[in-house]
């Protein structure tokens, strides 16, 4: 069964550095998402992406964050000037129209 894949599984970075989290959505899916989950907290919506542009973003998704679909397969989340509170699991998801979300296994980001 096709699945959403995310790399790396764990990323450690120093405060103030930039990180890029990578995702390969399921190939025939049209909608792409990033969510994050701070340890022990709820899964928070960050952004949705369709037709090469952002469809919806939460108030968490400020100028520190950006997304890109640089080619036909990858979907990336860039976090600039990382802060300690950015430490979390970041999940990528994709879906077809009128279908449930398919999640990757996440990237654990640790900011030190």
């Amino acid at each position: 069964e096709p699945e959403v894949t995310q790399t790396p599984s764990h990323q450690v970075t120093q405060m103030g550095q930039e990180v890029i989290l990578r995702c390969v959505p399921i190939s025939n899916h049209l909608y792409f998402y990033w969510y994050r989950q701070i340890l022990g907290q709820k899964v928070e919506f960050l952004v949705s992406f369709y037709n090469n542009e952002i469809s919806e973003k939460s108030e968490i998704f400020d100028d520190q964050f950006s997304v890109e679909r640089p080619d036909g397969s990858n979907f990336t989340l860039k976090i600039r000037s990382t802060k300690l509170e950015d430490s979390a699991m970041y999940f990528c998801a994709s879906k077809e129209d009128y279908s449930p979300l398919h999640f990757g296994n996440g990237t654990r980001l640790t900011v030190t």
Binding site: V4, Y31, Y33, Y35, Q41, K42, V43, E44, F45, V47, S48, F49, Y50, S55, E56, S58, M89, F91, A93, D97, Y98, P100, L101, H102, F103, G104, N105, G106
Partner: protein, 113 residues
Amino acid sequence: SQQGEEDPQALSIQEGENATMNCSYKTSINNLQWYRQNSGRGLVHLILIRSNEREKHSGRLRVTLDTSKKSSSLLITASRAADTASYFCASGYSGGGADGLTFGKGTHLIIQP
């Protein structure tokens, strides 16, 4: 985005018993979905119920939806140790398009052998 809030936050039962988790939401929805998350993994979709449905079954899962009370319940019958996980509800208002679902904190279910 819509918001789901689950209760209880944690539930521990014996293997073989039924587990019931509840979810409430605040605004009008088109559908409500339940997801499961094993520790350290991504969320896995379990079942979707549309706003014009009242009950839906899938294997050992039964979901109900009461739009007048803005609530839903997930029942897992004959629980197994492998059902140990966190369960989240999320409500959607269109079903299609980029519908950014918002999840609650979930119910952490522990099945004791």
